[in-house]
């Protein structure tokens, strides 16, 4: 089985096609940015993009990817390794506490901004409601999304 991921095609060899994409990323491809939190699409720590749509990879069989392109947090920086606007905003605003959920948060925000580059506060809240931050960094997450969308000055 092959999979298109972060601009490359990777050979997965023999694999149970029902394996959730999360465990293929983590155990087979050594892409560990997406995290396991609940296994039932509740927490969003495993969020990645399939084409441009946010997907909970813990509950998404690898066989469902087909010809689509998968993007993980490892694939957001540009070819020179420069962080994306969202990633930079997350660093500049010091969003993370433990940081475990933040890869999933960034990917959920990435999906939002790809479909809606200038979201309202309500639209941000609704899109990000699929992701839990146990440490409670929601205020900074919201500000980071707005900063990346150009709605807030980059200086704190």
């Amino acid at each position: 089985m092959n999979i298109k991921i972060n601009g490359e095609t990777r050979d997965l060899g023999e694999l149970d096609p029902e394996t959730p994409l999360l465990w293929v990323l983590r155990d087979e491809l050594n892409l560990v940015g997406a995290k396991y939190g609940c296994g039932i699409s509740q927490c969003g720590a495993c969020t990645i993009l399939v084409d441009n749509v946010a997907v909970k990879s813990c509950s998404y069989p690898v066989a469902s990817v087909g010809e689509a392109s998968v993007t993980t947090i490892e694939g957001l920086a540009d070819a020179n390794g420069e962080l994306s606007a969202l990633q930079k905003a997350w660093v500049d605003l010091d969003v993370a506490q433990c940081g475990y959920c933040q890869s999933g948060q960034v990917m959920a925000a990435e999906a939002l901004l790809r479909s809606n580059p200038n979201p309202s506060d309500d639209e941000i809240d609704r899109a990000m409601a699929s992701n839990i931050c146990r440490c409670g960094t929601y205020i900074r997450i919201r500000n980071a999304v707005k900063t990346a969308a150009g709605q807030l000055a980059t200086e704190e």
């Binding site: 149970d16 394996t19 959730p20 465990w23 983590r26 155990d27 087979e28 050594n30 892409l31 560990v32 940015g33 997406a34 995290k35 396991y36 939190g37 609940c38 296994g39 039932i40 509740q42 927490c43 720590a45 993980t72 947090i73 490892e74 920086a77 962080l83 990633q87 997350w90 660093v91 500049d92 605003l93 010091d94 969003v95 993370a96 506490q97 433990c98 940081g99 475990y100 959920c101 933040q102 890869s103 960034v106 941000i124 809240d125 609704r126 990000m128 409601a129 992701n131 839990i132 931050c133 146990r134 440490c135 409670g136 960094t137 929601y138 205020i139 900074r140 997450i141 919201r142 704190e156």
Partner: protein, 750 residues
């Protein structure tokens, strides 16, 4: 000399739960109520004061280039850069950034020149290394300043030698030594080899900076791992891999105390991707290794599939039959009976007799799970009698001791690599998961990464205990509070003393503030393990006492703010580890002023205030809410005023307060685990509903400038949130909610 032994989990738990509070010695009087009717009442002997062991700290040092300047465990400078070592586990409280900031300040390094690395676990070099009790800053502040200042002094001496000038003619700035009169300047990197030859000066010859000269401390600094997080780098326990590693899961009895009678091991071993399956007997220590079935597989998914296919017959004669509904029934009965007094000052009976008005209320809070977002995991490799662990633990020292015990080797044969932790909240103080990984790796004969499922994580937690308080209080003609009685019904795991975080001492508010205070304490026997959970004790007592104080103010027909300030009284220090009432009153006044206390809010809207002192932090919070007809609560704004001494990292400090407010709201509205027949009823986030972004309120944080020593901030902003919001809901609706989570009274977050 007293040596600190971090190998005994009891020591750390003691620090975590009682740090800077009044002595807990007074909580011993306890009436034990047996809930499990299958067995006779049996009082066990004291189990406290666990065996004290010491172990020789590893002598191994980090790989160091020849000529590197490494005057202590915190600083390493060579021609490639300045490395500062963070000694304690990072669980989201920000210590991997804040502790090295303190070193960098006194070293006079430019922060952008610094690289931070997690230190090795080495008691000789670092003393106690753990995350808990909001202690990292107060316990390490002085030592880290001296470590940085010592290195700086040696770099100055090196430059003095090189330039043949007096060291007092030299200064430092931004990672350089400067000779102002000649204009000469040398970087710390250039001076490292020479500094390494300078004898380490005595600690008292080192001069520390004046606070007004701080360049780094108090500034906003982004977390040192933030960029690596954004690149998906393998920082956490769950991200670790070692060559030849297999993936393991472990199934324990759904009721704690059960043993494996039989299991379909042959069927499991025949499944695709499965390498091995076996029973572990456990070592009769619930904090280390419970009995269960281990499965070793080629990948996590195969292991999870096999775990689902397990058919285990459990032997449950000693297993938990804990029942939350039964505990509620017992508490309903017990609240009408007096119990042993743990606090009894003045004369409460006389105060009640002479009072003008009285109020009473029965408060209840549920058990709660830590639900740190990274489920427990540990990677372990056991070869030639040596054990290596990669562990997201809050207590690496005791993890080493416990794992050594479980696999039967000396602690000196264990190496533990501290990983970043995906949340802690107290759960990772306990090292059952590391013990399991060690035992499975030994038995399987291959390195394994043990992964708990979320369902495991919630079923085998050490929970924040539930509890019940029958409150009674009185006021006099002037509306002053005269008497306060708390009939407390808690839980005991060992049949001897309350669970950790479930015992009231005389330092608990309003102890030491009111003349006539009585606390009675009874305990229900409970098998499911209970332990420290963010701000242990304070996280629930604040809800009860902060709400009941408001009840009494209302009974007296007075403004809550006035009554709170009256109770705090004249500025004074209450015991060596108690609160300072002047600092307390100041944060109350600041929070009230900033929130606009007293302004007209209109129908259906209310404001509540609460103050709580915990973990040496003085914190007041004011909540403004509106409540709809169908009990939907909109929290418009939470205003926080905190006095925790000088701030180390302004960004991190503010983040901790914001997070505590959100965690506090999440917990008071929705978080409860219940038990029936010993089994946890909530096993994942579909039944344990954490707050999400749309419900996060505006949070306005104010730090009161203070010259007191700096104290920690991982916990103390949590406790005042719940009472502030409960009081605001009362002001908005006239309904006094006395149950936590408040969803059990029909309220939900808008």
């Amino acid at each position: 000399m007293t040596s600190l032994n971090y190998d005994d989990i009891g020591d750390i738990v003691e620090i975590v739960t009682s740090v800077r509070e009044e002595s807990h010695d007074v909580e011993r009087p306890l009436r034990i109520i047996k809930l499990d009717r299958r067995q006779f009442l049996k009082m066990t002997g004291a189990v406290g004061g666990g065996l004290m062991l010491s172990f020789g700290a590893s002598k191994s040092m980090a790989v160091t280039k020849p000529g590197a300047f490494q005057p202590n465990g915190y600083v390493k400078i060579d021609d490639s850069g300045i490395v500062l070592y963070a000694k304690n586990p990072e669980i989201g409280q920000g210590v991997k950034t804040s502790l090295p900031m303190i070193v960098a300040e006194e070293l006079d390094a430019a922060w952008e020149d610094v690289t931070v690395e997690q230190s090795r676990i080495d008691q000789a070099a670092y003393g106690m290394q753990f995350a808990g009790g909001s202690t990292a800053i107060p316990m390490n502040w002085e030592a880290l300043r001296r470590a940085g200042a010592t290195a700086r002094l040696m770099l100055i001496e090196a430059a003095a030698k090189r330039w043949n000038v007096g060291s007092d003619s030299l200064t430092t700035e931004r990672s350089h030594v400067v000779h102002t009169s000649s204009g000469r300047k040398a970087s710390y990197l250039e001076l490292a080899t020479e500094a390494a030859t300078i004898p380490v000066p005595s600690a008292d010859s080192v001069k520390l900076k004046d606070a007004k000269d701080f360049q780094i401390l108090g500034k906003r600094v982004t977390g040192v791992d933030n960029e690596a997080l954004m690149r998906g780098q393998p920082l956490f326990g769950i991200d670790q891999t070692v060559p030849g590693m297999k993936y393991a899961v472990y199934q324990k009895c759904p009721a704690i105390g059960g043993k494996v009678k039989s299991a379909n091991l042959d069927e499991i071993k025949a499944m695709p991707g499965i390498n091995d399956a076996f029973v572990l007997e456990g070592n009769n220590n619930a904090a280390e290794l419970l009995p269960g079935v281990a499965i070793v597989a080629d990948n996590t998914w195969a292991a999870f599939q096999a775990k689902r296919a397990l058919k285990i017959e459990w032997e449950e004669t000693q297993a938990s039959t804990d029942s939350w509904s039964h505990a509620i029934e017992e508490a309903e009965r017990l609240r009408h009976e007096s119990g042993p007094r743990v606090v009894d000052t003045g004369n409460v009976d006389t105060a009640f007799e002479n009072s003008v008005k009285q109020a009473s209320g029965f408060y209840r809070y549920a058990f709660a799970s830590h639900a740190q977002l990274e489920p427990q995991n540990c990677t372990a490799s056991f070869t030639d009698g040596k054990l290596e662990l990669w562990a997201p633990t809050q207590t690496p020292g005791s993890a080493i001791m416990s794992a050594a015990n479980v696999v039967g080797i000396q602690p000196t044969s264990v190496t533990l690599h501290q990983t970043r932790c995906g949340g802690g909240f107290g759960r990772r103080l306990y090292n059952d998961f590391t013990c399991e990984a060690a035992a499975i790796a030994k038995q399987a004969g291959v390195p394994v990464k043990l992964q708990w499922t979320r369902e495991d994580d919630m079923a085998y937690d050490l929970y924040r205990a539930g509890g019940f308080h029958q409150m009674h209080g009185s006021v006099d003609e002037a509306g002053k509070i005269t008497g306060w009685r708390d009939r407390f019904i808690t839980f005991t795991n060992d049949g001897n003393r309350p669970v950790s975080g479930g015992g009231i001492s005389r330092g608990v508010f309003p102890g030491g503030l009111l003349e006539n205070v009585r606390v009675e304490q009874s305990a229900l026997e409970w098998k499911n393990r209970c332990a420290a959970w963010r701000a242990p004790g304070s996280n629930v007592f604040a809800f009860v006492v902060g709400s009941f104080l408001h009840e009494l103010a209302h009974t007296a027909g007075r403004d809550h703010l006035d009554v709170l300030l009256e109770v705090l009284g004249e500025p004074r220090q209450l015991g060596p580890r108690g609160m300072h009432t002047g600092r307390a009153a100041e944060v109350v006044r600041v929070a009230a002023k900033e929130a606009g206390w007293g302004r007209d809010l209109g129908e259906g809207r209310g404001m509540g205030v609460a103050f709580y002192y915990s973990h040496a932090g003085h914190i007041a919070e004011v909540a403004e809410v509106s409540v709809s007809e169908d009990k939907k609560v909109k929290v418009h704004k939470v205003t926080v005023a905190a006095d925790v001494g000088p701030i180390v990292n302004m960004s991190g400090a503010e983040n901790q307060v914001q997070g505590s407010v959100v965690d506090g709201l999440s917990t008071m509205f929705n978080l409860a685990v219940s038990f029936e027949n010993g089994r946890v009823q909530q096993r994942n986030f579909d039944k344990y509903s954490m707050l999400r972004m749309p419900s996060a309120p505006e949070i306005d944080v104010h730090f009161v400038k203070s010259d007191y020593p700096p104290t920690g901030l991982g916990e103390p902003a949590f406790p005042p949130l719940a009472p502030a919001v409960y009081n605001a809901i009362f002001e908005a609706t006239g309904h006094r909610a006395r149950t936590m989570p408040i969803s059990e009274e029909g309220f939900s977050l808008a």
